[in-house]
Symmetry: D2
Subunit: 360 residues, 4 copies
């Protein structure tokens, strides 16, 4: 019962990696949205495998199929069904992963929880599910854009290569898509790319961080006490495969500041809006957006599938050496960028809709 | 509609800091639990103000009142109402905060969101609400303890003083309550205490990190795809006042490891259980507990209320100098320890109950 | 986890009949509502015991206590806690019902479900809980009234005495409170009253039906496919103690009409609004209000507690003769009128708030 | 956000009548269920159009496609996606219903609520959606059957032809499928069939009632206070197209009984189980099943589409005469039987799963 996300703009996803299809039902999309499917497909294309030599060479076109809820190009207020056929799920030999537990994968835990698992390509635990998030999030993003809200995600760290300044104001978003890594600084991007190429040759994998900025949010989004803006964001982000941490605003570094340094001093700008001189709050105070940019960082561990022999155990407890083949990513960060954007868009739009009920 | 947390074991809290009372309704507590109210009160006493000179001197005894759901010492399966009367909410002069927006507080955002706010003592945005979490979490913890599960939270960092090793195995939990700071290492605790004393004299505040370990969890807890164990944990922890970040297992440091270093190699222990040689996964794989200890870290920013004059604006936009009085914490970390434990207990028990529905 | 009702305007109730207190937390009341507590108390007074010789003589004043969420007479958008102290829950001898299962009460099922029960006065299964619904519903009703919406409930049948015409248009609402039975026709009311007096003397009880009309609803309320207006109404009404059935519009009698007789023909009125010439649809088409009056009927069985000896079994299965004492209603209908109104108000307001999210 | 039903065993449906496909995602089906798709298809075949001359001649085979959640014939605990392609949604002339509001259909309310509608074949408001319910309910029914629980629905009234006794004990379930009407009494069925044939010739439609019995339920299902067994049942049943009322146990007739007549006297049977001598409670006391058969009745209005000219208005308010063509049912009752069964199965299984969390 936990394959849904959101309260008003609510998505429910289904599907296994190598089954016939995966998809998402979006329930609660307001009626009257002009939907540009091409634009959603463009976001999907940033997530799809095979987009560059830095990513897996698996061949899925992730072609979006629309089956309901949109009529003559406009949302009708009824559930929208987006579906993807799994075209590259050719019959193959799964004996290797069928009986053995790959280290730091979900093979063991799915078996332990459910008593069985669809082992083909990781089944439900595969990151293939994230295509559904990107499709739904892409729709949410369209609505947000129409409301003047922008979301930009980018790679701010790969292994030990770090973008110097990833804060709002310091980043040129127009550069993000100029390189395969999706890092907005050309030099850093170049180093990240080289890093990944070396890692790939080693048969290794690496992780890193993705930063995300949300601009032009209205004041008042987020629902205390338990649905604070950051709480829901964290929940959405940490539900993404391989994500190990989340911080917003000053985040972990806030512990190294004193109160008076950390406090964001209010002032009124020339238009009469309340703004803060600094933004350690990350645009959120008391769980509610204050009109300043929201920004957060998420960390992704290195992909568990490496091209090296690894020790593990079989279902029966026998010690085995595992040699995983298949076409996997040396670094998921570039492909995770649209997923982070999608989750941020889903959270934001949902809060916008809920917020309409807050005043009589 | 967002003052509830949990799905089966579900809490709903109410109450403002300086209103007549605050409380929590726990809906979904299984029937048949022998409830030890003293033990819950003991957890509450770790959160209550005035417990040491390191915390606020506000005088609230946080005396737990039970009004339903427990009959002859045993839970009946009906809603449990825990309530606290606000005894120290004496009438006072609120003019200072009534019309002015304290920096990095929720005054502005509540006003902006709702059009008005109960300004007395921070109203609903006050951390006073966390007493309700601790009461409910204390009950959850009792159930977990009866099932053999232990949760230990402790302060692992205050400002620039850091506990060297906060991982499971490296911490002597029996030491946590031996000092006012709730850091399990005596020397580090002493330094933290001195740090807070200095900060307090300066009229400043500091933040830090709290680490939490959950031991003896069954395999199989957590509900993919959107209710992964870590996602719900993060949501609960980031809903706590002043929390700015969350990481579990290897967390942010995972980005500095290669895949084969990070992977946790499976083996069978002498009892036939599947364990991993390392635990970078933090006891969670694919969003589901794998039987290894779950551990996570959360960061808390410095308290926004400082004893120094600060610039801000009034509701009308006028520039004012703010001099906040009242009895506030120089560092909330020691008092936040039971809150982190409580949220972890609420999440864990809820997943245990949900997990009962996963197999036919 | 099932003591909540509503999605946006959401209530959670707690409390046992003879415990220290009962109450309700209303989460999601919009901010900015001017709350008239006296008016809510007036609705509560229609439900409270001891209001006439037709009802139980139990003495509960059901004095509403407000503990949060309303500041200076206005709702703040935070949870509202309404509470009632149980003043008439004097210590008494419960041995009779402690070990025996009263026929058609919930003693057996609570024991069977939870393994134990708070047997004092029926515990959680007592209709005392409905005071909480009336308090919350009374608040909802105030909001609705401010929006121009009216709800009128009344007794349309007691045992074999039936109001001739209970449809919108045929009822003079100003007469409802003119008699103890809450039937809008004086003659019928008189007969109903006499009927109840006879029944009371017999030591018996009777049931009947309550009709409810909702006027001036906006078009568009109700959320297909599963939250149709009538589906949620039915759920709310059938959750009331002793209710055995629900019908709306033409209801059960619709089966005796042909399609062309039953169809409500559309036309435009002088103001350009779409209306229907008849209203067999009961103001709801496709689960959505069409602007015509919503009306429905609910039936309540005779109270299970009779003043006659009854055979039953004890917990241990022994056959026993039961002689229940205590102060019970010969007919709950008059006191159930405000409960039906309250549930209708809760449903309606919730749908109004949700409907704000239906269009971009 | 209201296209979901259930809490643990939770379904979400999507799709319009004449779009490319409709479907349902079942989230929360326990892992380990052996699924017999043929058996689900058999239930679907009872709902599908064209099954006899009494029903619409529209040609949809309602061929179930399984796309996820079942692996090697067994449920995996992940979402199950059932899908139906709309094969008979040929391009046609919709101008008649595009601009005009058919009486007692949802054309007007959908337009009013959402600002637009997919008018092809009724779009989302079409009863075509119920195929999804039957598929999901058919799966639930399989699980229930494996647990020894039986559900039987049948037509107990068509227009003025009524089955004499529709109570548990009086009905021979083996006869239900022996006739086109699905009435368990051959003579009554014959009269019903003749009635429908006459009505069809007239170009008219009729409604009626469906009765449902659930046998061998465990004691303890249903979640007071707001999720009582009957409340959830009523909600599910009243969400079915054309349903106008619901009663369980003695239902509306309970108002004509005195308390001591209505009370169900407990006794112990030879196996030591608590049973009641009568079953006016309909197997439910205090919202919780007591182990006796659950039975309820639901009424369906005559189909709104008649083969006669009707007055109505266009979107612009112009008066128009409507002559609807297409292939519609003179009486939906026979096809609604599996839908009632499906909803009852969904409710029952959900409560069984939830009930597992009620005791420690």
């Amino acid at each position: 019962m936990s394959n849904s996300f959101g309260r008003i703009f609510k998505i429910t996803t289904y599907g296994e990696s190598h089954g016939p299809a995966i998809g998402v039902v979006i329930d609660g999309c307001p009626a009257g949205v002009s939907v540009d499917i091409q634009q959603i497909q463009a976001l999907l294309d940033k997530r799809r495998p095979g987009q560059s030599h830095l990513t897996t060479q698996r061949k899925e076109k992730d072609q979006l199929i629309v089956e309901s809820g949109i009529f003559q190009g406009v949302s009708t207020g009824t559930p929208i069904h987006f579906r993807f056929e799994n075209t590259d799920a050719r019959s193959r030999d799964y004996s290797n992963i069928k009986d053995n537990y790959r280290p730091s994968h979900a093979d063991f835990t799915y078996d332990a929880k459910y008593g069985l698992r669809d082992y083909r390509g990781g089944g439900r635990s595969s990151a293939r599910e994230t295509a559904c998030r990107v499709a739904a999030g892409g729709l949410a993003l369209q609505v947000l854009n129409q409301l003047g809200i922008d979301i930009h995600s980018f790679v701010s760290q790969v292994y030990n290569i770090q973008l110097k300044d990833d804060l709002p104001g310091a980043v040129d978003y127009s550069q993000i898509e100029k390189n395969m890594v999706r890092c907005p600084d050309a030099d850093t991007a170049q180093k990240m790319q080289e890093c990944i190429e070396v890692i790939k040759k080693e048969g290794e994998t690496v992780g890193g961080t993705i930063s995300c900025h949300i601009h032009s949010l209205p004041v008042g989004l987020g629902e205390p006490i338990y649905d604070k803006f950051q709480a829901r964001l964290a929940s959405g982000i940490l539900s993404i495969n391989a994500c190990k941490g989340f911080e917003y605003g000053s985040g972990f570094s806030s512990s190294l500041m004193k109160g008076s340094e950390h406090n964001d001093i209010f002032e009124q700008n020339s238009k009469g809006a309340f703004i803060t001189q600094t933004n350690h709050s990350g645009g959120i105070q008391g769980g509610i957006t204050n009109g300043m940019p929201v920004y957060f960082r998420s960390v992704f561990k290195p992909v568990a599938t490496v091209r090296k022999p690894q020790q593990t155990v079989s279902k029966d407890g026998a010690s085995v050496e595992l040699n995983v083949k298949g076409r996997h990513d040396p670094c998921v960060l570039p492909r995770a960028v649209p997923i982070v954007t999608a989750m941020a868009a889903l959270v934001t739009l949902d809060f916008i809709l809920i917020h309409r009920t807050n005043r009589i």
